[in-house]
Each structure stands twice: as structure tokens, then as C-alpha cells.
């Protein structure tokens, strides 16, 4: 097939376009600054007149960048794993290497590679030390040190097990005992780690990619191809895998990977695989760091290794000749380039010690073949030259970083590739910003330039030749770090100048393909695995399908299919399917995720259901089903039964977030037929793919768990410590235990609860409830607050504490009290008129107190109502009054308790002058002060009397009373703030009124001592009696 293409293209390739697009040719270094990554869009480049065969049309022009290209639409929204995960892959996860970590590395080296680090000195010193038990003459006994050295291998507490001698020996020998002086080692290590850190960003050595794919001759009607890839722990085993392509109408070709690969174990990591098919043989060149090897593969035969060369310098490039069999070109870091014909010594044809055009401080060199079998491309970071290998000094520039190519400052060449399959004279030069197609007949001026808009520099490239003269050649660019893959299309170079077709298209990459709904630690593992930098790229075109293979650094190979949509009217069936299935899939996946949380049984059931549906899926044709089964088995590692449990929770949601794209684009497709509408790429993965991924992940996770091992710890020997014998359980107990276990499993199966009653276990001891905490025992502020918050109205408490709700409360209470008063007034028959002077004052007070009572609870209400007059003063408390469950429970007793402190307070507070008073009250204040002195004495007496009187009833409540008192005091003396207690305001106005009012207050306190008396109003109306009380 390739031969046919080359024949068809070959004769045409000799034509040079009659007209080229205009282009400036300038000398000098690039001066453009890289500003953004979007330069590749919306530009036509240049135009020239098209050579139209029909002369009637006035003038036709063609642009360098054509908006429309071939429409390659991915068949699936994600990549497909082609092979089971590389079991032996080692991923260095965790934080990136820091050069400052070198002590840790040194420690590891000393402890775990002691043979390397101490061997020489150990030999020399060995004869003076004796590690045995025996005592020898002239030798130092190191018996105990043995134990110490043993312990070093384990992770352990660093403070433990220091022997006295160790530091002493350390001080004595630390400079001597290492083979490599530690200072030197540290320096070198630091340097190396710095280098490693740079390599993490970009590895120049993997340029070119370690993945090869070439078609084999059709064998018995079967299309076959060979995939060459590295695998193993460090990608150090080379696999030749024969792939059988099976075609179904309208479906992407199926890659049958059934054949076992042929494996060659190599002496290092495979960095690059270069393949070329010449005539009837395929040549495979493999590059390791210091070795290069050649394999040849004839159709229908096993690949056979031919020759291996070893190079002193690190090898940076290998390229197999596409023209002559078994010829290669190899470049090394020193700048030497060799032309290597298999069977003979490589001939050095170029030795370039420095960089080509300017000093780029890079050792990367690259060699490729060109249209002439004896002329090679020699490239480094600054440009590329065409070198004739027959004469030593015949070379001219193919490409250089400069103004002519419109380079940006800082731009460097990262890849050069001969595009012989597409056009015999074309080369691809890729920099971190752009991709250039160079025609070697017209060097220095790029025939075509794209801005590829990749985030990381491309270092893999593949050319897929055009199918016919009208089609476009496809260039695939791949990057390491982000696994980006870009598809560029171009045409021309023969009769017409090169033109780019369509905008750059980004293909799926393994790392972004999955949104895996998994347990977090698994998800992390899978993510890590998929995000390993790419290591290779290959592509193949089969009957309107483009297969793109991607190799990651972990040795996993992924494949994606792109379908060519040639007709202007896309078939909408797939879109509709995807839209419809979207909801189903979503609902299904949510079901699954719910199922995970339920029980293992449930998930198992679902797994069965799913498999049933899978089998339904392929009921239409058996062959498809078979294929599908193969695909499944292909990505699966044969594992034990444990797999199932992993598979069940390895459910992944491949469905991307639903979007309205397919729907709307379809609509627009119906509206308009002038411009071909790009068929929307599928939004959700097909069920087959999902299952393939599931299997793949399952096998990946199984490996991961199998490999997982704990860090070694130093184990203490406990035999000496555990002297006692373990008693054997008696028979009955054993039976009980077994039956219990059985019950438990039964219960789990039936999804029931296992109740203690149903078992034969001894009855449970009833644990006594802890004693209820009495909040009143904890009088401090914090405890109160906690109690309040436990009761649920912490905010109220806090408001109260700060006095924020004072005004509203006052207002509410006043209103209520007024109503009550009014209601009472109707009841009051005779005495109401005699207290006219104090009514207003009473009102004030009552409003306040009733508010408090309301707050105290509904059962307190009746009490308040019944003897509201008496309570007026008694309950007019500052806001610090705790609102505790206790108070709610016993309103009556509380009222009695508070009577005494209240009376105390009301008198005591008068000397402390409230600051909020109006200016009108200033005069009265002085009176207040004068009067205030006298009652204090009385208060004391009153207080004591009340105390004695209350003693029997209060004996149980002594403590609350105490804290309440303290509280009052604190509130009183701490109340110099602007937020004043309303009680104090009232107190301030007290002396203005008659002494009767005063006495009334005191009388009320007296009256409270006898709550049994229902007629409080009558008491309040007896000033005489109160006065006598005062006297007492």
C-alpha cells in the first residue's frame, strides 16, 4: 500500500508549485515577543490567484490558511485502552523532586546501598573490627553494633536505640569511612537533582517517541500491522505485536491484539523507535541511551535483530531510511552524526561541536533523512541543515530560528521530521510555538506555518498521507507533559503551494479522558497513572478511519479513532443516540454510585445486571459480540477472583457533563445546508468502551493493591515479654462464637439488623446512666451560656447579656402590662382611686415585670396575673437574670427567692447613680443620694430578716441563691456602661415619688414571703402595714 502511495505521489512530488505565496526574507534574530497562544486562528496568511482551469470566472483567489478542512470527528469522546495496563510500571508519584532533598537521598544511599557506599573502607577497616561474639586479640569487639546496623534498615523512631558507641564511632570515622567523600557526593547529588527537576518538565531524550506502527503485507485477506512498543518496569523490553485489523461496514476497524507479542529484553529504557518500510521489509531502529539496535521484519516472518552499536556519548536521535533498506542515521550529544548501514561500521559524516546558528546551550542533536538518500538533515535547537554525507563540507540551511520564519524570541526547535510519506521533499520543524513545513527545494523560507497552540513543546510527530490528490495530509503533533495531541492538515506542495486546511484540532488525551467516580485513594491512583507524560505517538489510516495510538511513560497504550465525515450532511443518528442515551446513562451512573454506598451484595447484583445488558447490546451479530469480548479480554490481565470486588466499585462515569451542543448543531444543520456543519463529537462514551475501561481499571487496581506493601518497620521481639499462656476457650463458647458469626453473615445477606436478643451472647450489662447535670450547680458565665445554648436559645441569652433586646422587651412588657392593668382595673372596685399618684410609676414597673414573667413561661403567667401588684417590684430584675430550665420549672419558688435580693438591690442601687438619666432628673438625683444613705442600714436588717424567715424553704436552694446574689452585685457594680438596667432607671425615679411608693415596693417584697395569699392588690394598698415592716 505504501508503495502505491509513493508511486502516485512520487512522480508528482517532483513538481514544484508554479507560484509560492509571498513571503518576506529577512535577516536577523527574531524580535517578536510571545504574547499569547491564540495566534493560530482567524488568519488567512497570504493569498494568491488560484490557477483555475475554467477561465470564465473572473478572478479566483486562494488563501494560505483555508478555514475548511477534512472533518475528522472522534468516534468516542475518550481514548480506549488497547492493552492491559503495564503491570511492572513504576510511577514516581508524590511531590516533584527538589534539589534540596539531597540529604535524604544520601541517607538512603548509605543505608540501603551500604555495599556501594562503604565497601572499600569497610574492607580496609574490617580487620580491626570484630562483629562476632568471640573475643579476639587486636580487634575491637562490635557485637552490639551489629544490632544497631540491623535496625538501621527499618523505619523506626529515631530517638530509640541509640547506642552510646554509635556517636563515638561516628565522630571518629565519619570522614574516613565513606568511599565517596560525603561533601563531594552531596554536591554531585544536588546537581543531579537539579537536572532531574528540569527533566521532569521536558525530557529531550524521548523526542521522537517510542512507539512504532507499520502495516504488513495482506496475509490471506487479513489486514495486518505491527505495533512496536516498549514495556516493562523501565520500558526496557521491546515488544513486537502483530495486530490483525478487522473491518466492519461503517464501524471503526477493530484491532485484534490476540497474538502474543514477541519480547526482547533490552539493556536500558527504550527512548525512541523509528520504523520505515522499504520495499518488502520493515526496518525498526531502536534507541537507548547508549545503544542503538536494528531489527528487520519481513512479511510473515518474525522480526530479527541485526546489529547493535554502542556509543560513548548519549545518543539523541535515530532515524531509519525510508529509501534504502537497513540504513540509519544516528546523532549523539557530542554533535556527531553517523550514517550507519547495517552490517558495517557507522560512518561519521558530521561533527558539530557547537550549536548551528547561535549558542543555545543545548546538547540535543537530531538527524533525519531527506528526499535524497545521501543527504541528511542535521538539526539542533537553533535550526536545521541539509548535509550531504558523501562530501564533508556540503551543507546548507534548511531552517533557522530567525525573522524569516517569523519566529518569536526564545523560540527553539524541538523536533524535526522528514515527511516523506506525505511529500518527498517536505520536512516538519516543530518549535514550542509553531510548526513549519519546509520544502527542501526552497530552504530557509517555510512553505507553511501553523501556530499549534500547544501548552508544552511537541516532541512526537506523525504524518498520515493524503488518500487521494484532493485530500489533505495530516500531521499529528504530540507533547509529553500534558499528553496533548494536535491534528494539522495541509495540502499542496506539488502543483499548488502548500496550504493549511482547517483550524488546529486537539485530540483526546488519556489524562483528561476520564472522570472516574471512585473511592478517593483509587481515583488518585488512576489519575496519577493516566497523567504520566506521553512517550510516543503513532497513527494509521484505514478506510476513512484514523487510528491514533498514544504511549504513556508508564507503558500503557491508548488508541482513539477518528472518522472522516466527507458529506456535507452529517448523519444525525449518532447525535440523537447520544442525546437520548445521555439521560439514561446519567441516571444509571447515579444509581451505581448510590449502590456503592449500600452493600456489597447490591453492587454485585448490579454488576450482573450490567453484564446482562451488555450481552443484549450485541444481540444483532455474533461476530461483533465476539470482537467485543476480545476487546474486553485484551485489556484485562488474568487475575484471581479478587478482581470482582474491585471491578464493582471501579465504576467510572465516562459521561462528560451534558451540553446542548449536539442538539443545537443539529438544528442548525437542518436550517442551513450551504456550509458543511461539523458533526458534533459524541458526548458520551458507548457502553462497550465503558466496560473496557472498567476492566482496564480493575486490572490496574488489582496490580496496584498487589504491589502495595507497607514500609518495613523494625519489629520488636515480644516472645520474652509475653510469658503468660493463652487460655483455650471452652467448647460451648466456641460454638456460640461460630453461631454468632453465622447469624451475622445471614443478617448481612438479608440486609437485616442483628439484634442481641437473637444471639446466644450473655446478656449485656446495663450501663448506668450518668447523673443528670444540674445547670444550677454551675453558676459561672460560661456554664450558663452553655446551658442556654443546650436549651436552644443561646442567641437570646446573649442578647440578654448584652442588653440588646432591652428596648423591645420593655415596650412589649409595657403593652402587656397595660392590658392587664386595664383588665384588672375593671375588677378593682374601691382602692383604685386612692393610688392615682403612683399609677404611672406602677405602670412602668409592671410593664417590665410582666415581660419577665412572660419570658419565664406560661405556668408562671397565672401566678403573675393573680398577684401582679406584688410581683411588680419582685420581678423587676436586671437582664442578667438567667433563663435556665430551672427557673422555668419553679416559678413560684424563684419568685420567693428573688424577693430578698431584689429588695436589697432596689435599695442598694439607689446610691449608684445611673448615668442615663435625663437632665430633668439631675435635681432629684441629689435627693436620691441623700435618701439612699439612710435605707442601706434598713436594708441589711430587712435582708437578714428575710433570710431567717425564708430559711426553711430555701435550705435546699442555698446555692442558686448565692450565685444569684453574686450576679446581682456584678450587674450592679458593673453597670456603669451606657446600657443600663431598666430596674435602675426605675430606681432612680423612685425618690421623686412619695415614700408610699417606696414602702409599697418593700411591702411587696414582704408579701412575697407569703405567696399563698391570693389578694396581692389588697396588700399593696396597705401602706401602714408596710411601714411597720420597715421599722422592724
Amino acid at each position: 500500500m505504501s508503495g502505491l502511495v509513493s508511486v502516485a505521489g512520487g512522480s508528482m512530488d517532483n513538481k514544484f508549485p508554479a507560484q509560492l505565496f509571498p513571503h518576506f526574507y529577512l535577516d536577523g534574530p527574531p524580535d517578536l515577543k510571545p504574547l499569547h497562544l491564540y495566534g493560530g486562528w482567524g488568519s488567512y496568511g497570504q493569498v494568491l490567484r488560484a490557477i483555475s482551469k475554467t477561465a470564465q470566472t473572473p478572478w479566483e483567489f486562494q488563501a494560505q490558511h483555508v478555514a475548511e478542512g477534512e472533518m475528522w470527528v472522534p468516534v468516542e469522546p475518550v481514548v480506549t485502552p488497547l492493552l492491559p495496563p503495564n503491570a511492572a510500571a513504576k510511577i514516581f508519584s508524590g511531590p516533584p523532586v527538589s534539589p534540596d532533598d539531597f540529604p535524604e537521598h544520601m541517607q538512603h544511599f548509605y543505608v540501603h546501598h551500604c555495599k556501594d557506599s562503604f565497601f572499600t573502607m569497610g574492607q580496609l577497616l574490617g580487620e580491626h573490627f570484630n562483629f562476632g561474639r568471640k573475643w579476639c586479640k587486636d580487634r575491637i569487639k562490635m557485637g552490639r553494633m551489629h544490632k544497631f546496623v540491623d535496625c538501621l534498615k527499618y523505619k523506626k523512631c529515631e530517638l530509640e536505640h541509640t547506642l552510646e558507641r554509635v556517636p563515638r564511632y561516628h565522630n571518629l570515622l565519619k570522614d574516613v569511612v565513606c568511599d565517596i567523600p560525603s561533601a563531594l557526593l552531596a554536591e554531585l547529588l544536588h546537581e543531579e537533582l537539579t537536572l532531574q527537576k528540569d527533566l521532569e518538565e521536558f525530557q529531550p531524550s524521548t523526542t521522537g517517541g517510542a512507539l512504532g506502527y507499520f502495516p504488513l503485507e495482506d496475509f490471506e485477506g487479513q489486514k495486518e500491522a505491527c505495533l512496536v512498543y516498549p514495556r516493562g518496569e523501565a520500558l526496557d523490553s521491546l515488544n513486537f505485536h502483530r495486530v490483525v485489523l478487522e473491518f466492519n461496514d461503517g464501524k471503526p476497524p477493530f484491532m485484534n491484539m490476540e497474538n502474543a507479542p514477541l519480547v526482547f529484553k533490552l539493556n536500558g529504557s527504550v527512548r525512541q523507535i523509528s520504523t520505515a518500510r522499504v520495499d518488502d521489509e520493515a526496518t525498526i531502529g531502536v534507541r537507548l541511551d547508549h545503544f542503538c539496535g536494528v531489527w528487520m521484519m519481513k512479511d510473515g516472518q518474525r522480526p530479527r535483530p541485526l546489529q547493535v552499536i554502542q556509543l560513548e556519548e548519549c545518543c539523541t536521535s535515530i532515524s531509519v531510511s525510508p529509501h534504502v533498506r537497513a540504513e540509519l542515521v544516528v546523532a549523539t550529544e557530542s554533535g556527531a552524526a553517523y550514517h550507519w548501514t547495517v552490517g558495517s561500521r557507522p560512518q561519521k559524516f558530521r561533527d558539530e561541536r557547537s550549536n548551528l546558528y547561535f549558542n543555545a546551550k543545548s546538547l540535543w542533536r537530531w538527524c533525519e533523512f531527506s528526499a535524497h538518500p545521501r543527504v541528511m538533515v542535521f538539526a539542533d535547537r537553533t535550526g536545521a541543515e541539509l548535509t550531504d554525507s558523501r562530501s564533508s563540507d556540503c551543507s546548507h540551511t534548511l531552517f533557522r530560528i530567525g525573522k524569516t520564519a517569523g519566529c518569536k524570541s526564545g523560540e527553539r526547535v524541538f523536533l524535526a521530521k522528514y515527511l516523506g510519506q506525505g511529500h518527498a521533499h517536505h520536512h516538519l520543524i516543530a518549535t514550542q510555538f509553531s510548526a513549519y513545513v519546509m520544502d527542501e527545494r526552497m530552504p530557509s523560507v517555510p512553505a507553511l506555518k501553523w501556530e499549534h497552540m500547544m501548552e508544552s513543546p511537541p516532541c512526537f510527530a506523525q504524518i498520515v498521507p493524503a488518500l487521494d490528490s484532493k485530500g489533505t495530509s495530516k500531521i499529528l503533533l504530540g507533547a509529553q507533559k500534558a499528553q496533548e495531541t494536535m491534528l494539522l492538515q495541509y495540502s499542496g506542495g506539488r502543483e499548488e503551494p502548500c496550504r493549511a486546511h482547517g483550524p488546529v484540532q486537539k485530540l483526546c488525551s488519556p489524562c483528561e479522558s476520564l472522570t472516574i467516580r471512585q473511592l478517593p485513594h483509587r481515583q488518585h491512583k488512576v489519575k496519577e497513572r493516566l497523567a504520566v507524560p506521553a512517550a510516543g505517538l503513532a497513527a494509521a489510516q484505514n478506510e476513512g478511519f484514523l487510528s491514533v495510538f498514544q504511549l504513556t511513560g508508564a507503558g500503557d497504550i491508548f488508541c482513539q479513532m477518528l472518522k472522516l465525515h466527507s458529506d456535507t450532511h452529517p448523519e444525525p443518528s449518532r447525535n440523537i443516540d447520544s442525546v437520548e442515551s445521555l439521560s439514561n446513562l446519567n441516571s444509571q451512573s447515579t444509581q451505581v454510585s448510590e449502590g456503592q454506598e449500600e452493600s456489597a451484595e447490591e453492587t454485585k447484583k448490579e454488576g450482573k445486571e450490567q453484564e446482562v445488558s451488555d450481552s443484549e447490546l450485541f444481540s444483532d451479530s455474533d461476530s461483533e459480540r465476539e470482537q467485543y469480548q476480545q476487546r474486553l479480554s485484551q485489556v484485562e490481565v488474568v487475575v484471581n477472583d479478587e478482581r470482582d470486588s474491585h471491578a464493582s466499585d471501579a465504576e467510572e462515569g465516562i459521561s462528560r457533563e451534558p451540553s446542548s451542543v449536539p442538539d443545537s448543531s443539529m438544528r442548525s444543520a437542518q436550517i442551513n445546508s450551504a456550509r458543511p456543519v461539523r458533526p458534533a463529537s459524541p458526548e458520551t462514551a458507548s457502553k462497550e468502551l465503558k466496560l473496557i475501561w472498567k476492566k482496564w481499571l480493575a486490572s490496574l487496581l488489582v496490580e496496584a493493591t498487589a504491589k502495595e506493601h507497607c514500609l518495613e518497620h523494625w519489629q520488636l521481639r515480644t516472645r520474652d515479654m509475653m510469658r503468660f499462656k493463652v487460655k483455650y476457650r471452652d467448647r460451648l463458647e466456641e460454638d456460640q462464637f461460630l453461631s454468632l458469626r453465622k447469624d451475622l453473615t445471614d443478617a448481612m445477606k438479608n440486609r437485616q439488623l442483628l439484634i442481641h436478643k437473637g444471639t446466644y451472647l450473655p446478656p449485656l450489662e446495663v450501663a448506668p446512666l450518668p447523673e443528670a447535670v444540674d445547670p444550677s450547680d454551675w453558676p459561672d458565665d460560661l456554664s450558663q451560656r452553655l446551658t442556654a445554648s443546650w436549651g436552644g436559645d443561646w442567641s437570646n441569652w446573649w442578647d440578654e447579656k448584652l442588653g440588646l433586646n432591652r428596648d423591645t422587651k420593655i415596650e412589649a412588657l409595657r403593652r402587656k402590662r397595660r392590658q392587664e392593668k386595664r383588665a384588672k382595673a375593671r375588677n378593682r372596685v374601691a382602692l383604685s382611686g386612692s393610688f392615682t399618684s403612683s399609677v404611672s410609676y406602677q405602670d412602668d414597673l409592671s410593664g417590665w415585670s410582666s415581660g419577665t414573667s412572660q419570658y419565664l413561661g406560661s405556668d408562671g403567667e397565672s401566678f403573675v396575673n393573680s398577684q401582679s401588684a406584688a410581683e411588680d417590684t419582685a420581678l423587676s430584675e436586671p437582664e442578667t437574670l438567667p433563663k435556665s430550665p430551672v427557673t422555668q420549672r419553679r416559678p413560684t419558688s424563684q419568685a420567693t427567692e428573688r424577693s430578698s435580693p431584689e429588695s436589697f438591690k432596689s435599695l442598694r442601687s439607689s446610691p449608684s447613680k445611673p448615668q442615663e438619666q435625663d437632665s430633668a432628673m439631675v435635681i432629684s438625683q441629689s435627693q436620691n443620694q441623700e435618701q439612699g444613705q439612710a435605707p442601706t442600714v434598713e436594708t441589711d436588717s430587712l435582708f437578714s430578716s428575710s433570710k431567717t424567715a425564708l430559711k426553711p424553704s430555701l435550705s435546699s436552694q442555698q446555692k442558686p441563691k448565692l450565685w444569684q446574689q453574686q450576679d446581682y452585685l456584678s450587674s450592679l457594680f458593673g453597670s456603669q456602661e451606657p446600657s443600663q438596667d431598666p430596674g435602675q432607671v426605675d430606681d432612680g425615679s423612685l425618690p421623686v415619688h412619695s415614700a408610699a411608693a417606696m414602702s409599697q415596693r418593700l411591702g411587696s417584697s414582704y408579701s412575697l414571703r407569703r405567696p399563698s395569699q391570693p389578694r396581692a392588690s389588697s396588700q399593696a394598698s396597705q401602706p401602714q402595714r408596710k411601714k411597720s415592716r420597715m421599722g422592724f
Partner: protein, 380 residues
């Protein structure tokens, strides 16, 4: 956009246009360019986009970021050209050509030069239409034509003096000069374009010169010297066959030797590997050389290439392939190898397949080839 989801991109872009409000001049101009590029791309893939939409976008972006004025003007006129609005494009270009904006326009000198050049290029097309439509007697049209010619020639001359690849401009300029019988001027332009060291080595420049010389019946020596330069640059060029035939006519020994080298150089390229004309040419050259008793030249060239040619042209598989696909080619190749004196090695390998191939091809292609092959066998 990289995934070609234009609809989504358009939504995001609409939101991004807020960036134009950005006060930082740098960011604003950046946003401007991004919106222009992305917007154009989205429009190009919009199923219902009209020319008016494009015009609106171009006009707005042109004026919101002065830094890209010239570039956007150029792209705008390209867009108009590609969509058949020749006159609008011309108007755009002439407007842009007269644009002045202090420092800003100086920094865009390259774009402005291109604008001028394309302006002249379009003048040339107008000139062409006038030329084809206007009857020659019409003095009015010829005057008009002449004015267009002057306009175009000034601008084209200007761009051509700049080093670069100016194939369309040079061609149109030369076409006009030729029309006004300014052969010398045209030749000067072409020679400058081909031989000036400041210019990139453009094979087309030499091809144009060669074609011009050929058109004007230049002596073969001149043609040969032109092609000699071309051969140095592109040994695989199509014109090399013509070059060979030219050289063969001269009958000087040195030319003969060159001729052989050229023909063999051509066949060094795998792209000519299966080309019957090239092989025929080589065979012709070799037979002529052999006739003239210059066999040693052939041997000399052969020694240089023996290894390569044996692996590249004369392997078993090639014989097999040629016999299946192109028996004539096989015939010529065999003859060539015979002259090289490699008939023992190569013909034997070819013979291996003849039994196979003669049977097969005889059925397919008839007696002619069969006879041909047998004839060859006898000759060998």
C-alpha cells in the same frame, strides 16, 4: 475551540469581550487581538455567518486596537477577495494604504508594504480585465490601462526590491512589462529576482527566467547556464530532463559528462525512482556516451553510486514489482544496468523473476511485452 466546539466557544467569547473594558493598555490590545482572531475563526465555522457579520467584526476590531490595524485590514481584504468581492477588497486596501498613525504605522511597516503590494497586485488584475475586454483601438481604455499599469508597477517594483518570495508579484509585473515591450526591464527584474544574493534561493525565480528566455528565443547557452544554476539548487527539478536534452544537443564532452551526472543525480532521488522518462533519459545519455566512446565516464559515475543504486534500484523486489506494474521500466532499467556492466549481478537477480513475471504479464498485457522481455533476454 481546539476540539472544534464552535458553539461553546462563541458563548465564552461573548463573555470575554468584557476584556475590552480593561484599562491596562497592554492587556487591552492583547484582548483585542485575541477577540479578532477567535471571533473570525468562530464566524468562519458558523453555519449562517454572512459577509456583513465579518465586515462588522473586522471594522470594529480594526479601530479598537490600533496596533493591529494594518494586519486586520489585510485580512479583511483577503476575506473579501476570497468571497469574490473584488472591488470591496480593492477599496479596503487603498484605504489601508493611506493610513497614517505615527509610531503605530511605522511598526507595522511590513504589513503596510504588503498592503501596497496587494494593492498593486489588484491593479494588475484590473489592468488584465481591461486588456482582455477593451478593444485595442479604444484610446480611452488604453489610457486607463496605462494609468493602472503605472499604479501597479510602482507598488510592485517597490515590493520586488525587498528580499523575499514574490512569485505572483514578479509574474504580474513581468507580464505588464512584456505587454509594453519592455523586455530588458523584465529581464532585469527576473535576473535580479533569481541571482540576487539577498533573496532566498527560489527555484521558481530560475524557472521564470528560463521560461522568459525560452519565450524570447534566447540562445541555448543562456538557457543552459540558467538551468545549471537551477540544477545546483534543486537537482531533482522537473526541468532537469529538459536540461539533459539541451546538453545532449551541444555534443561537447564536458556537457556530456554533466548530462550523465544530471541524469543520475535525478535518479538518486527516490521520487524519480519509478519514472520512466527519467530512466529513458539516462539510457539515452548513456547510449550517446557509449557511442562517442566515453565509457570511462560512465564507469566513473557508476563507481560513485554503485552501492546506493544496487540497493535502491536493483534489488529482487524491485524487479518483481516492476515486472508486475511497469514492464517497460524494467526493460529500460535492465538496459541501463547492462551498460553499467552490472548485468551479471543485476540481471541475474531480475531473471529470477522473469519466469514468474513473463508468465503473469504475458497473460495480462499481451505479446508486446513478452516479446520485449525476450528481446531483452536475448540482448543480455
Amino acid at each position: 475551540m481546539l476540539h472544534h466546539r464552535w458553539q461553546d466557544a462563541a458563548h465564552y467569547l461573548a463573555a470575554y469581550s468584557q476584556m475590552l473594558e480593561e484599562t491596562t493598555a497592554h492587556k487591552q490590545s492583547l484582548a483585542c487581538e485575541i477577540i479578532w482572531r477567535l471571533g473570525t475563526e468562530v464566524l468562519q465555522h458558523h453555519p449562517n455567518s454572512r459577509l456583513e457579520d465579518f465586515n462588522a467584526l473586522y471594522e470594529r476590531m480594526k479601530n479598537s486596537g490600533v496596533k493591529n490595524y494594518a494586519k486586520i485590514c489585510l485580512e479583511h481584504s483577503f476575506h473579501l477577495l476570497l468571497n469574490g468581492n473584488f472591488n470591496d477588497a480593492k477599496r479596503q486596501l487603498s484605504v489601508a494604504a493611506s493610513w497614517r498613525y505615527g509610531k503605530q504605522s511605522a511598526s507595522q511597516s511590513m504589513e503596510l508594504k504588503l498592503i501596497h503590494a496587494y494593492c498593486g497586485f489588484l491593479d494588475y488584475f484590473i489592468w488584465c480585465t481591461k486588456k482582455s475586454s477593451g478593444t485595442s483601438s479604444d484610446a480611452n481604455t488604453s489610457r486607463e490601462m496605462h494609468s493602472y499599469f503605472r499604479q501597479a508597477s510602482v507598488t510592485l517594483q517597490e515590493i520586488i526590491t525587498q528580499p523575499g518570495v514574490w512569485d505572483p508579484f514578479v509574474l504580474s509585473y513581468v507580464d505588464m512589462l512584456e505587454f509594453y515591450n519592455d523586455q530588458e526591464g523584465a529581464l532585469k527584474v527576473l535576473q535580479n529576482y533569481a541571482y540576487n544574493k539577498d533573496y532566498p534561493s527560489n527555484p521558481n525565480a530560475h524557472v521564470y527566467l528560463y521560461q522568459f528566455l525560452k519565450r524570447h528565443k534566447a540562445p541555448p547557452a543562456k538557457l543552459i547556464s540558467t538551468l545549471k544554476v537551477l540544477h545546483c539548487l534543486v537537482p531533482s527539478h522537473e526541468l532537469m530532463l529538459e536540461y539533459c536534452s539541451l546538453l545532449l544537443k551541444s555534443e561537447v564532452e564536458e556537457d556530456m559528462q554533466d548530462c550523465l551526472t544530471i541524469a543520475m543525480n535525478l535518479l538518486d532521488y527516490p521520487s524519480w525512482k519509478y519514472d520512466l522518462n527519467a530512466w529513458n533519459c539516462l539510457l539515452k545519455v548513456m547510449t550517446v556516451l557509449k557511442k562517442n566512446g566515453l565509457k570511462h565516464l560512465i564507469d566513473k559515475e557508476w563507481e560513485k553510486r554503485r552501492d546506493l543504486w544496487l540497493t535502491m534500484h536493483y534489488r529482487n523486489c524491485h524487479g518483481k514489482k516492476d515486472s508486475e506494474e511497469n514492464a517497460k521500466l524494467l526493460f529500460v532499467k535492465a538496459k541501463v544496468s547492462k551498460i553499467f556492466g552490472e548485468h551479471k549481478a543485476t540481471i541475474n537477480s531480475l531473471l529470477k523473476f522473469w519466469g514468474f513475471s513473463t508468465r503473469k504479464t504475458a497473460k495480462r498485457k499481451g505479446k508486446e511485452e513478452k516479446g520485449c522481455l525476450f528481446q531483452l533476454m536475448i540482448k543480455c
